[in-house]
């Protein structure tokens, strides 16, 4: 049964008429056209779909609209200010943190949430926080280097 939900995404409010158990990921991509957040598995096991929801890195594929309603959501599209990249985004470029890049929005959102909480996170903490973000290009060395660069700078 469809109902109306209000979600705030990247500072903008949207009213969405949809099913309460529909995943936030689908709404972001299909209803709002925010395709930067990716589908990788749909079961919470790859974190390609990571957004920041009320400050927490969250898998949007297993977050229902009922849960997302009234929350503050940030997606990859909201990270840069104009042409000014966020330091984590810049670090991914500097350290070649991408091959195909499909996992990268999720990686960047996970790293951003981590570094907001712990701006100088140790390597151990970074690995602990990021190891659920799969990269099938297996570019883990460079991704780790990118997050470490951002951790030193922020």
């Amino acid at each position: 049964m469809a109902s109306t939900f209000t979600i705030r995404v990247n500072g903008r409010q949207h009213a969405v008429v949809t099913d309460a158990d529909r995943p936030l990921l689908d709404v972001l991509r299909e209803d709002l056209g925010l395709t930067g957040t990716k589908f990788g598995c749909g079961e919470g096991a790859c974190r390609a779909c990571t957004v920041i929801l009320d400050g927490q890195a969250t898998q949007s594929c297993i977050t229902t609209m009922a849960t997302a309603a009234d929350a503050e959501i940030e997606t990859i599209e909201g990270l840069a200010s104009g042409d000014q990249l966020h330091p984590v985004q810049q670090a991914f470029i500097d350290q070649s943190g991408m091959q195909c890049g499909y996992c990268v929005p999720g990686q960047i959102m996970s790293a951003t949430a981590l570094l907001r909480e712990d701006p100088h996170a140790t390597r151990e903490k970074i690995i602990d926080a990021m190891t659920g973000n799969l990269c099938r290009c297996c570019n883990y060395g460079n991704i780790l280097a990118a997050v470490e660069q951002a951790a030193a700078r922020e």
Binding site: T18, D19, R22, P23, D26, R29, E30, D31, G33, L34, T35, G36, T37, K38, F39, G40, C41, G42, E43, A45, C46, A48, T75, I76, E77, L79, A80, L85, Q89, Q90, F92, I93, S96, M98, Q99, C100, G101, Y102, C103, V104, P105, I108, I127, D128, M130, T131, G132, N133, L134, C135, R136, C137, C138, N139, Y140, G141, N142, I143, L144
Partner: protein, 719 residues
């Protein structure tokens, strides 16, 4: 022969013929046969294509490779009035860095900064057919072709500028898009492009004697150029195939068989059709729905699935896989011609062995599992079909669509946006065909993205294999016979680089229970694993260090060089002397050379890889940054197949079709990674997206043996 001309040896232009593909390239019948529709036969030549460099572009495509050598510059590139040169190639970017490297190649020969090159990839309406993206062919084959065309274009532009500036060609100074002559007159690329006569000047094929820049004066190639398109990726703006959205689009979903080989007896579409905005279609064994959201489309298909009845044939259990492959091995026909060979009297040598090794090695079925599953958006306009999809083979998908819908070649357009991973797993057009069929039923553009479970079940797999090795040593510990048989997993790299007085190689086909196809380095991973693991066992029989045993059987050359480079850097001898658990392996495939050293520990029955040192050599390095990233990625991906990845199946279904049950490498698997890149500027560049994957598994097996004293002869390595 000079280096330069070697790079353009015409034989390199022939290497992409279909015969050169691995044997697992598909020769299967189409999955769906759709009913004919009379209107389809009326060809509608209407609205032009967005980018059409020349009317001959499509013609050249249909004529395939033959047309390539007569390729006209106008088919390869277009000079814009803004001074930007647009270059066209049918190659795709799936993360391996082709976009960046081809851009570098064009910039190098056109003497332009990379920002002034726009590369259009894999649009069948506008790109000349450079073949699919497979077999590490982009670097040795497409890059030279692009350089050749760009160098020829530069020469033409200089001639054209000379005429315009009333000077001799030899007087024209050209660099970075600006032309000047001694009189002081000057012009730019953009100005030339505004002159309509330029189009004619670019029509003829490039001259045969065009000069390309030699390696020692490379400016753009050879440098660590950053990835083209990186900003769009980190900001989420890049649209992967699954992100393409067109006006009025709906979402599609297909009903999958209940198990492998199952045929649909009956299904009721009514419950789906009753849903708001849903279109349901059945065409032969194809059943699918479209809806305003993918969520609703999935519900609609579930509603049909609940009514569906199937005939389900029996299907092998993965527990019996290897015995099944051995029992069904056929005497012939497993490899390409030339893969089976014999030299010397290997039977006599085996019989006379002082020491003999007879070992059987196994490799499991594994899945590519690219992060972006198969996806396509299909749009019909006036009987013409445009499909955006993620595939490594745009031309093949083009003909799949043409055949499925009985269309003229010119009525089908396939566009491949830079895609979220391939690894040899996206050579087919299932999603494209399905999206197109659904779009036709809905009368609306349709987006279809496979679920992870669909990708794990209905894509294809790297073939499982059984490899038997029978080898003999004489009293001095030298190999005298080498007999290797690969059952089912293919022949790449089956030729041993080690000296043996006699031997035999065989590649046997078997009855494969799963749909199998290409994979990054495909059979070479299996054959290299078996051979290197056997070399370790033989070294033990000969009572020699595994490195020394290898060196004793290798002549001088590129393989020996990487082996020495890796073991030196890793400090092999001191680690071994200190009793550390280390393993070594090397190999060659597709013209490049790799050696790896691995140190690992086994704790609580789990392998923990602590450090890897790998040396790699692929000729002159075109982009060290991208190369390093590819090599590191290959090592980590190779660890997945060595440690954990294994597809299991029962009752015609995959038992572990998810990332929670099929465990791919993660960041916490990352060991200390040390990569040594040997830059052989005196040798032609070859592709590096595959071969660096083949050494890590056997080196790890050696380390695990050192740690536990037990041989593991299967991938993944079982503890």
């Amino acid at each position: 022969m000079s280096n330069q001309s070697r790079e353009f040896d015409v034989s390199s232009l022939r290497e992409e013929s279909p015969a050169e593909f691995e044997r697992y390239e598909f020769r299967e019948p189409p999955r769906y046969v759709f009913a004919a529709d009379r209107r389809e036969f009326v060809g509608a030549l209407g609205a032009g294509l967005v980018i059409l460099v020349s009317p001959q572009g499509a013609q050249a495509q249909r004529e395939g490779r033959q047309a390539r050598r007569e390729e006209r510059l106008a088919d390869r590139l277009h000079v814009g009035v803004d001074g930007v040169v647009t270059v066209f190639t049918s190659k795709v970017e799936v993360g391996q860095g082709a976009r960046t490297q081809i851009t570098q190649a064009a910039a190098e020969e056109l003497r332009l900064p990379m920002e002034q090159i726009r590369l259009v990839m894999a649009d069948t309406a506008s790109c000349p057919d450079d073949g699919g993206t497979a077999g590490s062919r982009t670097t040795p084959s497409t890059i030279p072709r692009v350089r050749n065309a760009c160098a020829a274009a530069r020469a033409r532009l200089v001639e054209f500028a000379a005429a315009k500036l009333h000077a001799e060609t030899s007087e024209v100074q050209y660099d970075g898009g600006a032309f000047s002559v001694p009189s002081g007159a000057a012009t730019t690329l953009g100005d030339l492009a505004a002159d309509r006569k330029l189009i004619e000047a670019l029509q003829a094929p490039p001259a045969a004697d065009v000069e390309i820049r030699s390696v020692d004066s490379w400016q753009v190639l050879g440098a660590p150029a950053p990835k083209v398109g990186a900003v769009a990726i980190v900001t989420g703006r890049h649209r992967y195939p699954s992100d393409v959205q067109v006006q009025g689009m709906v979402y599609g979903k297909v009903l999958r068989p209940a198990s492998y080989g199952a045929t649909l007896k009956d299904a009721d579409l009514a419950p789906a059709k009753a849903m708001d905005g849903v279109t349901a279609v059945r065409d032969g064994n194809f059943v699918g729905c479209t809806a305003p959201t993918s969520w609703r489309a999935a519900q609609a298909v579930e509603a049909i699935a609940a009514t569906a009845t199937w005939d389900r044939p029996p299907h092998l259990h993965s527990d019996r896989l290897y015995e099944h492959l051995q029992n069904t091995a056929k005497a012939e026909g497993g490899g390409r011609r030339g893969e089976g060979r014999q030299w010397g009297d290997w039977q006599a040598a085996l019989a006379a062995a002082r020491k003999r090794l007879q070992s059987t090695y196994r490799v499991a079925y594994i899945q590519h599992a690219p992060m972006e599953p198969r996806a396509a958006v299909a749009q019909w306009q006036d009987g013409r079909l445009t499909v955006w999809t993620g595939t490594q083979q745009p031309a093949r998908v083009h003909s799949e669509l043409q055949n499925a819908f009985r269309l003229e070649a010119t009525d089908v357009r396939v566009i491949v946006p830079d895609t979220g991973g391939g690894f040899g797993g996206k050579h087919t057009g299932e999603a494209a065909v399905e999206a197109a069929r659904l779009a036709k039923a809905a009368g609306k553009p349709t987006s279809l993205r496979w679920t992870r479970e669909e990708e794990f079940t209905w894509a294809y797999f790297r073939p499982a294999g059984v490899i038997e090795i029978d080898a003999a040593l004489d009293e001095s510990g030298r190999l005298t016979a080498w007999d290797v048989t690969n059952i089912n997993s293919g022949g790449s790299a089956i030729d041993s680089p080690y000296q043996s007085a006699s031997g035999r190689t065989r590649v046997l086909a078997a009855d494969a229970p799963l749909r199998q196809g290409s994979y990054r380095a495909l059979a070479s991973t299996a054959n290299n694993f078996a051979r290197e693991a056997a070399m370790d066992e033989l070294a033990e029989l000969a009572n020699v260090d595994p490195l020394d045993f290898r060196l004793a059987h290798l002549g001088p050359g590129r393989l020996r060089d990487v082996l020495v480079a890796a073991t030196d850097r890793f400090d092999w001898r001191s680690r071994r002397a200190a009793g550390r658990s280390a393993g070594v392996a090397c190999g060659t495939e597709k013209g490049s050379f790799v050696a790896a050293c691995v140190e690992a520990a086994v704790v609580n029955n789990t392998i923990r890889v602590t450090s890897i040192c790998q040396a790699y050599e692929c000729g002159a390095i075109q982009n060290p940054k991208n190369l390093l990233s590819q090599v590191q990625g290959c090592i980590m991906m190779g660890l997945g197949g060595a440690l954990r990845e294994e597809i299991r199946f029962a009752d015609g279904q995959i038992v572990n079709p998810s990332f929670s049950s099929y465990q791919v490498p993660r960041m916490d698997d990352l060991p200390d990674l040390d990569v040594v890149l040997l830059n052989r500027q005196d040798l032609p560049s070859v592709g590096a997206g595959e071969t660096p994957i083949i050494a890590v598994a056997p080196a790890l097996a050696g380390a695990v043996f050192a740690a536990t004293g037990k041989r593991r002869r299967s991938l993944p390595l079982q503890i």
